[in-house]
Amino acid sequence: MKTLAGRIAFNLFAWTVVLVTAFPLIWMILTSVKPQFELFRIPPTFWPEQITFEHYTRLIYETPFLKYMRNSLILGFTTTIVVVVVATLGAHSLVRFRYPGRERLAQMVLFTYLLPSVVLILPLYLMMVWLGIANTIFSLVIAYTTFALPYALWLLRSFMQGIPDDLEAAALVDGATRMEAFVDVILPQALPGIISTSLFTFILAWNEYLYALVLVNTDEARPLTTGVMSMLVSAFNIEWSLLMAASVMMSLPLIIIFAFLQKYLTRGFGAGGVKG
């Protein structure tokens, strides 16, 4: 990387990768602001000749889009909170406490993660019906928790293994209760891990399609993924312009969250990099 030629080559390579990755996103945004008549022009235009936000206003005022958005947000945040709280406490227990079957338990948890999620749909659906919560957002929260939790637990476990035992012991000797030691010392150390786990869970809940399709079939509980599909994609017609506008708006929350938490995310994926 020292020579000028080397630097240029590297930059060229990096930008090519970025462009290739970002191109569909750019195309999506451009399409969403093109007027209807421009969409199917041949040859296609890259830059819109005319910019319009009509698709967005139609989406917001004439479709249940906002309701889906609300459902997705509730679903995403609830799932994230449930998964992170349970996984943080669970990982702490798996790392700190000595009890028979601890390792076996951790392995079993991972095993459930290895099952293809399709296999679990039917039993889960029957369970939801039996519990009387089928067709609710809550049923999706439970479903997503079942497959986000194992991964979250393992991610946080490996993260917490990097936190020295002595820190917690020192807090205990200094007069903290177990809970206080956990909150004062372990949580701040595990924060990058907790944040990357939260992001992982949120993204998973935000993008999930299959379970939402099977477990929920009312607009009251439908999240964006299935909502937008059922609304805009039918056997005969795809509302491309609305679909693109919806896609842009669906991406927004993730982009905003990423922008804020990016530095924690990169730190989180280098788990175990906690300095003692």
């Binding site: 012991a169 020192a170 000797v173 200094d174 903290a176 300095k275």
Partner: protein, 360 residues
């Protein structure tokens, strides 16, 4: 009065026994070292006293209270960990203030106490730094500050100096001695460095494989080691241990091995396997009834260490730096009979034998 006592304390991790059956009574205000090789159960003992491990059996008292079931925070102890364990996300000031905060001490008093402890430990200029911006020695002082600020009854220190360089270690050793003198509190100090234990302690508890080997003042442990392990462990260079046996000779007994023959005045019986302990400074090269072959000569400046062969076994001898010894040469030598140690080779226990030099 005993301030801290262990009664028949045993600790097992599954099938691994870390501490076998420890009986130890430590007086109020004493500086006691737990000394032993790695893995002998020192940290485990300290952690049990701190309440971080539960003893499998036995009773631990602090003052006149049995503390087996008392949580660490309520034992009136402070601990400095081998890793120092400063809270990484807190500044130095917050680190030191933490124990006070957990005891509900008000902000103003907290600040005053942190300032005074920081002054004692020369941390005043570093109060706003985070631990990762500190050197090892500074981190160690933060850990010490966290212990000092609370004015506990007993201080527990787990190898607090082992991560420091030699110069800083010597300095901190002196500081700790001074601190102990000033505070008059009970200090329990874990180390595997016998020099630290010898220089700092009122008494040393020597441990080996979870067993207490000897508990006594430094000079007592040095001059009257209770068994073979203590004899070999305390002292640097280590004591020479020369296996042999007692044999009857004339009217009395004699210690016999290849290259050595020492009449024994009292104690012991013929046929007993005995190991003779001779400290490197108690062998006098130059004249005497025995002969050794010089193998290696290591001048260190203030003294010279000679490795010599005595009847097929190498022994270490301390000599004056000006003594010239030629490698390969045979030299006569004598031993200081009043300073010899004897141990039963089978049980390892110390034997009280009186030796004499053979009449020439």
């Amino acid at each position: 009065m005993a301030d801290v006592s262990f009664q028949k304390v045993r600790k097992a991790f599954g099938s691994a026994v870390a501490v076998k059956s420890l009986d130890l009574a430590i007086g109020s205000g004493e500086f006691v070292s737990l000394l032993g090789p790695s893995g002998c159960g020192k940290t485990t003992t300290l952690r049990m006293l701190a309440g971080l491990e539960f003893p499998t059996e036995g009773e631990i008292r602090i003052g006149d209270r049995v503390v087996n079931a008392v949580p660490p925070g309520q034992r009136d102890i402070a601990m400095v960990f081998q890793s120092y364990a400063p809270y990484p996300h807190m500044s130095v000031a917050e680190n030191i203030a933490y124990p006070l905060k957990k005891r509900g001490v008000g902000r103003a008093e907290r600040d005053a106490k942190v300032a005074s402890v920081a002054a004692t430990l020369q941390l005043g200029a570093l109060l706003d730094r985070k631990p990762r911006q500190l050197s090892g020695g500074q981190q160690q002082r933060v850990a010490l500050g966290r212990a000092l600020v609370r004015d506990p009854k007993v201080f527990l220190l787990d190898e607090p100096l082992s991560n420091l360089d030699a110069k800083l270690r010597a300095h901190m050793r002196a500081e700790l001695i001074e601190l102990h003198r000033k505070l008059g509190k009970t200090f329990i100090y874990v180390t595997h460095d016998q020099l630290e234990a010898m220089t700092m302690s009122d008494r040393i508890a020597v441990m080996h494989e979870g067993d207490l080997q000897q508990f006594g003042a430094p000079m007592q442990v040095y001059e009257k080691p209770a068994n073979l392990f203590v004899a070999g462990f305390i002292g640097s260079p280590a004591m020479n241990l020369l296996p042999g046996a007692l044999e009857s000779s004339g009217s009395g007994l004699a210690f016999v091995r290849q290259g050595l023959w020492l009449p024994v005045g009292a104690g012991g019986q013929a046929g007993q396997k005995v190991t003779l302990g001779v400290r490197p400074e108690d062998i006098a090269l130059g004249s005497g009834p025995f002969v050794a072959t010089v193998r290696i000569v290591e001048p260190t400046g203030h003294e010279t260490i000679v490795m010599a062969d005595i009847g097929g076994q190498s022994a270490i001898v301390r000599v004056q730096p000006d003594a010239a010894h030629v490698v390969g040469s045979e030299i006569p030598f004598a031993v200081r009979t009043s300073r010899l140690h004897a141990f039963d080779s089978v049980s390892g226990a110390r034997l009280d034998l009186a030796f004499a030099l053979p009449a020439s």
